[in-house]
Amino acid sequence: VNKHINIIIASLFFITSLSYAQTLNDTLKISAVEIYAVRPTETSGLVKTRLDSLVLSEKANNSLAETLSEHSHIFIRTYGRGAMASASFRGTAASHTKVMWNGIELNSPLTGMVDFSIIPVFFIDNVELYHGSSSISGTSGALGGLISLSTIPDWKNNFSGSIQQGLGSFGSYDEYMKMEVGNKRFRSQTRLFHQHSNNDYKYINTDILDSVDLETGKKYHPEMRNTEAWYNNYGLLQEFHFRPTEKDFLSLSLWGQESSRSIPQLSTNEAGLNNSINRDNTMILRGVLSYKRYFSLGQFNVFSGLNYSDNSYTLHNRIQDNKMLNEINSTTRSVSYYNHFEYSFEKDEMNISIAANLNIFKVHSFEEIQSFGYEKNRLNPSFSASVIKKWAKRWRSNITIASEMIDDDLVPLKYFTGMEYHILPEDQLFLRTSIAGNSKYPSLNEMYFQPGGNPLLKPEKSFSQEMGIHYEVKLKDVSVESEIGGYNSVVHDWILWLPTFKGHWVPGNIKRVTSRGLETNLSISRDEGLIRYKIKALYALTNSINQGESMNPSDQSYGRQLPFIPVHSANCFLTLMYKTWSVSYLWNYYSQRFTTTSNQYNSSRDYLYPYFMNQVGVKRHFNINKVRTDLNLKIYNLFNEKYRSVLQRPMPGRNYSVQVKLSF
């Protein structure tokens, strides 16, 4: 009976979250809800979540943008399938979310941002999210949070591999190949992928008129295709792992990728195919060489890495005599070198860790038509230390400090102080709390972009507090994990690009932004029995409010939610497994997002209406000799919703994908 009651209570908690999400109220009352939570003890006050391996396996043919948007608290702002996608973690700006891969940073040193649409999930074995100031333990300047990606060698099999072929609507096809060979000492892992989509779905364009009957006033909208919206990605990930002894690990990871795409015209464009013809090409080369040694009481880790990115963007028009002429022809190149040293040891229930980094950035940015550009180098040494200590049986504390320099500037000190209390000794029930200060140095574009870069910018500084509860319970064959946490963060000197009377935009330390919110998640799974299932539900309440000084009495942005940040977001992923069959269902929700800083309601173009998206998948696997075959059918946008993620960019209706995977 107790088991059933626990499941029902846990379900009610999760349903309550979703119900609130659908009411569109900005106020969330949670006091009447009984909460279960789970907390890995080693984190000691940090808020760290991990994407489920089942999710990574399901989304292997997708980008990290779609995966995070559907399975995490992070809001992804996308311009459409295959188009630029940036992240907002806890209501912060895109450059406040850092992404690391095997220890090196993937954010562009020019813009500070990451395009999540070109990171293939197929290249990732593990995704960990460090929420808010918990990121201080891994990097600097991630005021919103840190997304840590990594690859993990499989030492169990000497020879394994897989081939996957996908076909989808709108001329979409993708191929994946993985091969792993080795023995107990040495291992080579190769991954190759290719994705292409014409992305040319049809839609009724309600943003323009074909014609209007001037007698009756009846209006006719054209049916159009989403032309010039294709994307193409291919890449190689080659890794070598060497384990000469049980205590020494040497790894080399190399990631090469080329991505190209065309961004379609806005739905309001009626220039024909004459204007806004664009090509966005990115070539990426990344590499990490790492060595790790384990001692009886600690470990030593050192790595060097490189992240090279070469992007070209052209925007051209078809002028007289059918000539194509570039309106924009920009090239940006960046090379980032990362060097990391870390030593940690544990004694008397105390873990001490020290780390030092020396990072070097070289960038080149040039626009040929207007003849603007800049070149800059940046040197970034940093140092951090942390002490995690267990006090008595139930208390654990975590103190981390980090200091860095950018060229000759000393960036304000970062610190994290966290406490964790094991509430019930017999159960996995934890209370955590933390106070932290973080800072982010301006990106190179913010300081030197031509025209408008502002070399006098100050670092953005945040101060935050958090509290949360975690609970985990295993009831025979049903596991329940749950977590609820609240945070309050203030970012001072928030950098914002603003127009000037000179026509171009200039960044300044304009705003003070407070970000307050709630994050909950619930996971219920039954791993045994005839019918197994897994339910994972997330909900986030995000109030990200501008509290900067108003420019003048007409400025209505004070006290308003930042544009494009949803107050409520939720998602739920269900998987039901029966013998060799499995059915999955995904529901994804965002409340309305304003497109203006003043949160006006003049027309439906001042906000994007709430987003409800449903997708379903059916999967079956069977073995032919020693080859396992997985067949996977997915239906996206199940209810054929008309929706948009940004203004005047129609999104696809119901569409399909079939994946066949052969593994041995």
Binding site: S11, S267, E270, T596
Partner: protein
Amino acid sequence: MRKGIRKYHLQYLPFIITMTFFSSCMNDEKWNDRNKPNLSVGEVMNDGVIILNEGNFMYGNASLTYYNPVTKKSVNDVFYKQNGIPLGDVAHSAGFFNGELFVVVNNSGKIITLNMGRYPSLYAFEYTHKITGFISPRYIHFFDDRKAYVTDLYARQIYIVYPAQYKIKGEININNGNVEFYQHSAEQIIVHGDFVFINCYSFDNSILVIDSKSDKVVDSIQVLAQPNSMVMDRYDKLWVLCDGGYQGSNFLNTYPGLIRIDPETRTIEKIFIFSGDDWPSDLSINGSKDTLFYLNKDIWRMPVNATNLPDLPFISASDRSGTKLFYSLGIDPINSEIYAGDAIDHVQNGTIYRFSAQAVPIDTIPAGIIPGYICFVRID
């Protein structure tokens, strides 16, 4: 097996309950604001000011604001409310012709026409026709119902439009073959006799002269870098305001300047040089065409017969309440009242400040995002 399932049925309860939440309620039409203003043409054409709000580049949220200076009432987003479709991306300028308002929508490559009396059964601002196929149209000037010129930022040609048929019927080539700075771009149009003067703004320094009889470029006048606006005064002198270009660019970078040109001889008669930190724009003229106005952070006024640039602004952008970001300027041709658009942070609805000819504040008008062009209906 049946027993097994029944025995554990409560374990599936969370799964079943969860499924009931997968509702959907997105519907584009449902969210469209259909609160039609249904303004009569008579009301609008009697006394009206129409403000074109550019909207954000690549957002497609341009809009129109209608303002009645007598009642001081305004209707924001009047085009969308009347027609249920967005105006487009970057509404740049407009012109009245034959009972219709031709709105040039720059980054949508089109001109949309709205009823202003041509169709008696329709309300004001009701969609009537469109002219499509431009690359980046900027301004329109009508000669008659068979001919109008449309300038374009990136087409390297001036379009000849047939207004009565809502079609492009020809082009005037203005391509100078300069790939680096995409010349020539074409902006405002001023007619003097049979000749048309067009300023080439973006990374350019030319005023093109076109013979409107032959539709050919017959001359060009070199001015300072980036001539952004022009007016003709009561003495038939052409005034050109140049912002001087961008520091840091390899393109010609000069001081900003105000230039007087004799359109008969096509020679420069006077040059007033600004300081290097200035960025003058939006040259306008009053109804009697004897006083120039322009923006340069503040609003400035200068008689056409002045010998120097003014020392003090006519209306300051800054006061104790804060700083306005003047983005557009319009002078009422009847009473010389001043309308100045404040785009604030460019990501929220802007404001139009209305002043008397003596700079006394009269009204503060709510507008749309980036109010960039102000039309006075009464002149047409």
